[in-house]
């Protein structure tokens, strides 16, 4: 008997120790609150920052920024990639700590040292990259991090469910609460993120580049939702680098350049020209710029359409875990033509590109380059057939971080005769030739680096992209596959990439250009295909380019 009681005592002690540890973890996060009467009336300053400065190693991201938002407005924060917009907002949201500066809410000075504080001050942020847990359901994601209304443990979500349903009806954001987030399209995921901030009682909503993955009619829907929210008492900060969008939806626009505030414009006085000048200044000659050129149906440079296409994809089918992600995909690209692939991320583009490069095996269908079927070839062989590739995620797929710039530049051509010497059965690198070529490339492509022996990880995003471009363009090629080559780049680098793409036309290279940025595609491409769920839904000639029709095709509708 005593042995049994000793056992029971031991188990109870163990459990209580566990229980005490759980108590220790409990934070004091606020219970979900709902929209009450705001303290600030429309027109008054609801959020102000003064003198915010933030330095990262080697760069001043925010340089003494003063910034004001009035209650009830949609305030645009405009600037090119790298101007410091996200940094400023991350400071306001408590993810970063400013080196200097103060934040005021409704006129009172506040300290925000973590997202918990920001949430308490009714600030909500929707980030550029989805911050949802893909494995969890929508409801679980919304409720994550909040304490239960009643009771200690348990995940029974009845009360929370009702509150969320109320909110979603109020703001017109209908979403399936029990679906796993990973199964939802990006537009819906964004709604979940918005609902998540509203559930926590946010009154100031910060949206960081929310239109990146949206097609034109979804963008319109978003803007309508934003106006509804503002009417119901919210204030919105809209971060973007797209001038047209800012002009469409914002009441006032603050322009950031290189970490400093360049100006604040009211809607009445704002024109695209003024904004571009503020954003980019004298770095780019706006009249000659491609980025800021008007959208016309004129071709940028002519294409001599030859009879036979260089790249042919025919009835391609690719499976992923037994589910087709690319189905019956067919298109052709001719010599000197830029063919755009327009599609929302996640519709099979990545898998299509992977298959074309030889990283995946197609289930059915053919891929032909200059008549030769490359479907079952290895990546190495495909690259040697004159196919060059610029991957979409430069950090994940583009560079070798802890390796020198020189070694990065020859990735893919390291077995070429100019770099590789063979004797008997051994082969080794010709370091002199490597060093010479990389120096040429560094100057030819304006890659900012102390020397070719620096580690690639020390370079900025723009310069890493230049390495990838240099790599792609320094080999004789007949096909170029570029996946979002201007993603996240500052204006100067974007200009450079676009120029290089257009050069391909005169070199006779067939270019497959993938981009989330429909404007970019509209400017550069000769023809465009819209991809939806792994199928090319429709192909458009340049003279028939219509933003909305293409956007519709991108979400599956056929015009």
């Amino acid at each position: 008997m005593t042995k049994l009681s000793a056992t029971i005592r031991k188990m109870l002690t163990g459990l209580t120790i566990l229980g005490k540890k759980m108590m220790f973890w409990r934070k004091k996060a606020p219970a979900p609150k709902f929209l009450r009467i705001r303290k600030a009336k429309p027109g008054e300053t609801v959020l102000e920052v003064k003198g915010i400065t933030k330095r990262f190693p080697g760069v001043v991201a925010n340089d003494h920024i003063d910034f004001k938002i009035k209650a009830g407005e949609i305030h645009g924060l405009l600037g090119e990639n790298g101007a410091g917009k996200s940094t400023l907002m991350n400071i306001i949201y408590g993810l970063y700590k400013a080196d200097k500066g103060e934040i005021f809410i409704n006129g009172e000075k506040v300290t925000i040292s973590s997202p918990v504080d920001a949430i308490e001050h009714k600030i909500g942020m929707i980030h550029q990259h989805i911050t949802l847990v893909p494995e969890f359901t929508v409801l679980e994601n919304i409720v994550l991090g909040m304490k239960r209304e009643k009771g200690l443990l348990g995940l029974g979500l009845k009360e929370e469910r009702n509150k969320v349903l109320e909110l979603s009806k109020k703001f017109g954001l209908e979403i399936p609460l029990d679906a796993k987030v990973k199964e939802l399209p990006i537009g819906v995921q964004q709604k979940v993120e918005i609902l998540r901030t509203l559930y926590r009682g946010a009154e100031i909503l910060i949206l960081d580049e929310p239109t990146t993955s949206l097609v034109p009619h979804e963008v319109d829907k978003l803007f309508t939702s934003l106006r509804v929210m503002v009417r119901k008492g919210l204030t919105i900060v809209f971060i973007t680098h797209r001038i047209r969008e800012a002009l469409k939806v914002c009441d006032r626009i603050t322009v950031l350049k290189l970490g400093k505030v360049r100006g604040i414009l009211e809607m009445k006085g704002a024109t695209p020209k003024k904004l571009v000048e503020m954003m980019v200044g004298k770095e780019i000659e706006i009249s000659k710029s491609i980025m800021f050129a008007k959208l016309t149906k004129k071709r940028i440079s002519p294409v001599r359409r030859s009879k036979k296409p260089i790249l042919v994809v025919r009835n391609l089918k690719v499976l992923e875990k037994k589910v087709p992600v690319v189905r019956d995909c067919s298109f052709e690209i001719y010599k000197g033509e830029i063919f755009g692939l327009a599609g929302v991320t996640g519709n099979g583009q990545k898998q299509l590109l992977d298959t074309m490069i030889g990283l995946r095996k197609a289930d059915k269908g053919d891929i032909l380059i200059n008549g030769k079927n490359i479907r079952d070839l290895s990546t190495f062989d495909i690259l040697n057939l004159g196919c060059v590739y610029i991957p979409g995620d430069r950090i994940k797929e583009g560079i070798l971080p802890l390796v020198t710039v020189a070694e990065n530049l020859i990735l893919g051509c390291h077995k070429d005769k100019q770099f590789c010497k063979k004797r008997f059965f051994l082969s080794w690198l010709d370091l002199k030739s490597l060093s010479g070529t990389s120096k040429e490339l560094i100057s030819g492509y304006s890659i900012k680096t102390p020397n070719e022996k620096a580690l690639a990880a020390t370079l900025s995003g723009g310069n890493i992209q230049r390495i990838m471009i240099a790599r792609a363009f320094s080999r004789p090629a007949s096909v170029l596959i570029a996946d979002n080559p201007t993603r996240g780049l500052d204006a100067l680098s974007t200009e450079f990439v676009l120029k290089k793409l257009i050069e391909c036309k005169s070199k006779g290279i067939a270019v497959l250009l993938l981009s989330e940025n429909l404007d970019e595609l509209l400017k550069l491409c000769d023809r465009m295909g819209a991809i939806y769920r792994g199928e090319i839904v429709d192909t458009f000639e340049r003279k028939n380019f219509n933003k909305y029709k293409i956007g519709l095709a991108m979400t599956g509708g056929r015009g």
Binding site: I357, E397, L400, L411, G412, H414, W428
Partner: protein, 353 residues
């Protein structure tokens, strides 16, 4: 010319600072431990340093330990550049020894002359170590299994295999098996590495050749480039045409071969037979010491011989310390691990700066 050398040395010194700091810190902590045990730490330190370097016997023993530790270090270091953690040096070393013993004993009736037999057996050891790494290599390349788990399983399997070979006819020396210390019959003299005076045995020559080959491999060869590329970013490497499967297989198998060489040399040069437990010294297996040496120099092919030598020095010194001062050898082992930890922490802090 001279200015160039001085300039190089000047460049080297700041880089050496973290190592010196870490070594001193390691010694410091251990000094505290030794004092707590009631002994004089300075005596201990002097024994540790003077015996291996000062006495002829000590130096020979140091070289004898240096060879397998260096090779075991390569066994970890080569796959490390591809971000693969080969913790199986222990098992690969043992299997190399097993293979060499079996082949050696089976030819013991009419052994070929030494200048043929020894290189043959060395090759056998090389291939055996490679073979023992094939299973983890294939599991990783084709099935994604993390090499840490698979190589450690192979380690334990090898340990039991050693016991079997050393306890079973026709290889075993039967009385020893019954006494609980299994060992095999001795190898014929033609199978043994000739002694090399103060350098221990001819295995030292093998080690030097291998070290040069590894340097060439990692710094200059295409395979070395591909291994580094896969280690830096496997996705990017694959996108640009490097076959990850091939690199994985080759680097792990090559690493295993290194350890197999170590095992072969141990059997042929030091013991003359396969003895259970021969791979242990100062509380851990030679494979573990190889890993520690590699960690200490961040798997740099030039730094490895230096840290392996340093490691062997400490081991021999620790042994002497235990004999003369009754301080348990594990003290030095703890010191070594602390040094490695400090080096890794300091290395990270240097990067952050």
């Amino acid at each position: 010319m001279i200015n160039f050398e001085i300039a190089k040395l000047k460049l080297l010194f700041p880089r050496l600072r973290p190592y010196l700091l870490a070594v001193l810190a390691g010694f410091g902590v251990v000094g505290v431990l030794i004092t707590l045990m009631g002994r004089n730490p300075l005596d201990a330190f002097s024994t540790i340093i003077t015996v291996p370097l000062g006495t002829a016997h000590g130096l020979t023993e140091t070289f004898k330990k240096f060879v397998p530790i260096l090779l075991a270090g390569f066994a970890y270091a080569i796959p490390f550049h591809a971000r693969l953690f080969n913790v199986g040096g222990w098992g690969q070393l043992l299997f190399g020894g097993i293979a060499v013993t079996i082949v050696g004993l089976s030819l013991s009736h009419s052994p070929p002359p030494l200048f043929l037999f020894v290189p043959l057996l060395i090759l056998v050891g090389f291939l055996a170590g490679a073979l023992w790494a094939v299973v983890p290599a294939v599991l990783r390349a084709y099935f994604g299994v993390h090499p840490v788990i698979s190589t450690i399983m192979m380690n334990f399997i090898a340990v039991y295999l050693v016991n079997y070979v050393a306890s079973t006819a026709p290889w075993a020396e039967t009385e020893a098996a019954f006494a609980g210390h299994p060992k095999t019959l001795p190898l014929p003299t033609e199978a043994r590495l000739p002694p090399l005076g103060i350098g221990g045995h001819a295995g030292l020559i093998v080690a030097i050749i291998v070290a040069l080959a590894v340097y060439f491999l990692m710094k200059k060869s295409i395979l070395g480039y591909e291994i580094k590329a896969v280690g830096a970013n496997p996705t990017a490497a694959q996108v640009f045409g490097i076959s990850i499967k091939r690199v994985t297989l080759l680097s792990l198998i090559l690493g295993g071969a290194m350890a197999g060489l170590a095992g072969a040399i141990e059997v042929m040069g030091v013991h003359g037979r396969l003895i259970e437990g021969m791979e242990f010294t100062v509380g851990a297996s030679l494979g573990i010491f190889g890993i520690l040496s590699a960690l200490m120099c961040a798997c740099n092919p030039i730094g490895l011989p230096i840290s392996a030598f340093f490691m062997s020095m400490l081991i021999v010194g620790a042994d002497a310390m235990q004999r003369t001062m009754m301080i348990p050898v594990e003290v030095v082992f703890v010191a070594i691990v602390l040094m490695v930890l400090f080096i890794m922490m300091l290395g990270e802090k240097m990067k952050m700066r």
